[in-house]
Subunit: 354 residues, 2 copies
């Protein structure tokens, strides 16, 4: 194995790929992602394999990636050699899953330096390919990732059953192994307490709604991840089509909720957004959760043209920077909660004054 | 009776007498007050008297006031003819008690136009004389009010028992009938949760601590009223001396609590004051209670030189203006809570921007 160069240092200076403000539309659909789960045929799943077996899997995949030039500019991260802050840092950039952060031996992340494409090796499956884009671009993402998957498949025989499809560690991924997801900012639906009803309804449509960091996480910053529940019985295009139309419906619901708030509860809405800005601008202690929620409220305020001297780019940059690991990477030191909250507030105040 | 000229219209344009910022000291001791309870000899107390008897009492006192020129420029308010907002307006200016706001027939308020001296007629007692000053000036107040009391006593025989002293409707006022009180702003003691302990301790010293509007009211804006509990067994000078030294001790406690907060919890303190300012500056819905609390936090921030472009005069003016009745008098209309909170927030935002 190559020694672990701390590539997190390269990333810290860049905005994240999944949160971009080059759209003039309301910032409701933040980003889209497609993930494929694959396993090498005739090898045990990572969960039951030994350290040596996991290293062997990593070697196979790494070799195949290099051979087919899968990456434009590959950055690699050996998870077991990263500090806890560095692992959390990758999670905050949505490059790894929460499970992957436990940093098992042989668990490695390869990404393209623009962070638009990545492989988690020895996560739950041997291989988790992920591709990201700001906004909703499922079709383009699918074309891109399926091409990359074919390239790899030329080198690596994937575990496949002619009846079931691709075999995966967890039965919920068997078949296509595809997870199509959208990150949605839904503050108005949350404020008007319609969100639980909508989560329930999307469940009936075979969709899952999760929090900011996927499975089991909280909807920090009023951000939700919508994705397909089953991977079996439909082909990839059908799944993408269903997720896409559900996303469009949720965007419309959020727009309707915003319109209703403006029509019927304008003071309440202005107060909510005004106070969120106020707290970012004048607090001296702020938790990650409060900061993310406030920033999401401000993003909605920007959509509604409530601010003259703020732009979405700046707010989106803050949205990543205020998170615990990014903050500590920025400041180049480990901090405990009270100091962390003070430094976060300081960074936000300075950032908003400039 | 003279017809009820709405003298509240004269007062609305003026700052209140009890909240003044001409001191360079920390704004902890806001104001001092001395109140004397007196009753006319051989007449029933107001609580058991008929409307006619109450009118008769009013006539006697009114005549005596005019005869001895008790007021420099007398304004009179017939409580039963005032609207609820006008009565609340007088309460917010601390010119009347909460009980007096029920507006019983014959209940009238006479004040000097500078609001430094007033008489409540037909409150619990026939006569409640009150004298006010910003800061702590008990001695000067006592000289002034005892002189005024003697003038009136030349015209009106007060109910007096050679053993008990002055007789009053409620036994807690018998004897001297004096209530010496100070309005204290104690945010640091409140924040550091020492306040209940201190209230308990002052109780042991024969003192009572009450909220912003006296008996049974809440400590809005971290403001407390300290006063003597008993009126019997000591002369006026002794009571004034005891209240004065307790006030000094409480000021010292508050200063100590501020020093400790600055030394040990600077971020917490800055955050508390910063957020209070933020909410005043950017909210679109704010209740009376939240506004008063925020303003008190800002007053402490001014004491600690945390603001460049704010002055105590402005904050003190807001402290009165944001209260429900003042706000409605200012806007010349009756408002219900959601609209009231929106108008309050608007007034505060505009006031702080200018």
């Amino acid at each position: 194995m190559k020694s672990n160069f701390d590539n997190t240092g390269i990333l810290i200076k860049k905005p994240v790929a999944w949160l971009s403000a080059d759209s003039t539309e309301p910032q409701i659909a933040i980003s889209s992602r497609i993930r494929l789960a694959r396993n090498i045929a005739n090898l045990k799943f990572p969960i039951t394999s030994s350290d040596n077996e996991r290293d062997y899997i990593l070697e196979i995949i790494s070799g195949a990636c290099d051979k087919v030039h899968l990456f434009n500019e590959k950055l690699s991260f050996n998870m077991s050699q990263l500090s806890q802050i560095e692992r959390k840092f990758l999670l905050e950039r949505h490059l790894v899953s929460r499970e992957f952060c436990s940093g098992n031996k042989g668990s490695s992340l390869f990404i393209d330096s623009d962070e638009s494409f990545g492989l988690m090796i020895n996560e739950e499956d041997h291989l988790r390919m992920q591709i990201f884009s700001p906004g909703i671009k499922f079709k383009a993402l699918w074309e891109n990732i399926s091409q990359k998957e074919s390239l790899l498949n030329n080198e690596i025989p994937f575990a496949f059953d002619s009846k079931l499809g691709f075999l995966t560690s967890c039965p919920t991924n068997i078949g296509t192994g595809i997870r199509v997801s959208a990150m949605l900012s839904l503050p108005a639906l949350t404020l008007s307490t319609q969100i639980n009803q909508i989560i329930y309804a999307t469940g009936k449509l075979g969709m899952t709604v999760r929090g900011l960091y996927g499975e089991g996480s909280e909807a920090l910053g009023y951000i939700y991840q919508l994705s397909n529940q089953s991977t079996l019985g439909e082909n990839e295009e059908e799944i993408i089509g269903r997720v896409g139309s559900t996303v469009n419906r949720m965007i419309q619901h959020e727009l309707d909720a915003r319109t209703l708030l403006i029509q019927n509860r304008r003071d309440f809405l202005s107060d909510f957004i005004g106070r969120s800005y106020a707290i970012m601008r004048h607090s001296y202690l702020i938790t990650e959760k409060e900061a993310l929620n406030a920033l999401s409220a401000i993003r909605m305020g920007l959509d509604l043209n409530m601010f003259d001297s703020l732009d979405m780019e700046k707010v989106n940059a803050l949205f990543v920077m205020v998170q615990d690991a990014h903050l500590q990477k920025c400041l180049r030191k480990e901090l405990k909660p009270p100091e962390l909250d003070a430094k976060r507030a300081e960074l936000i105040r300075k950032f908003l004054i400039n």
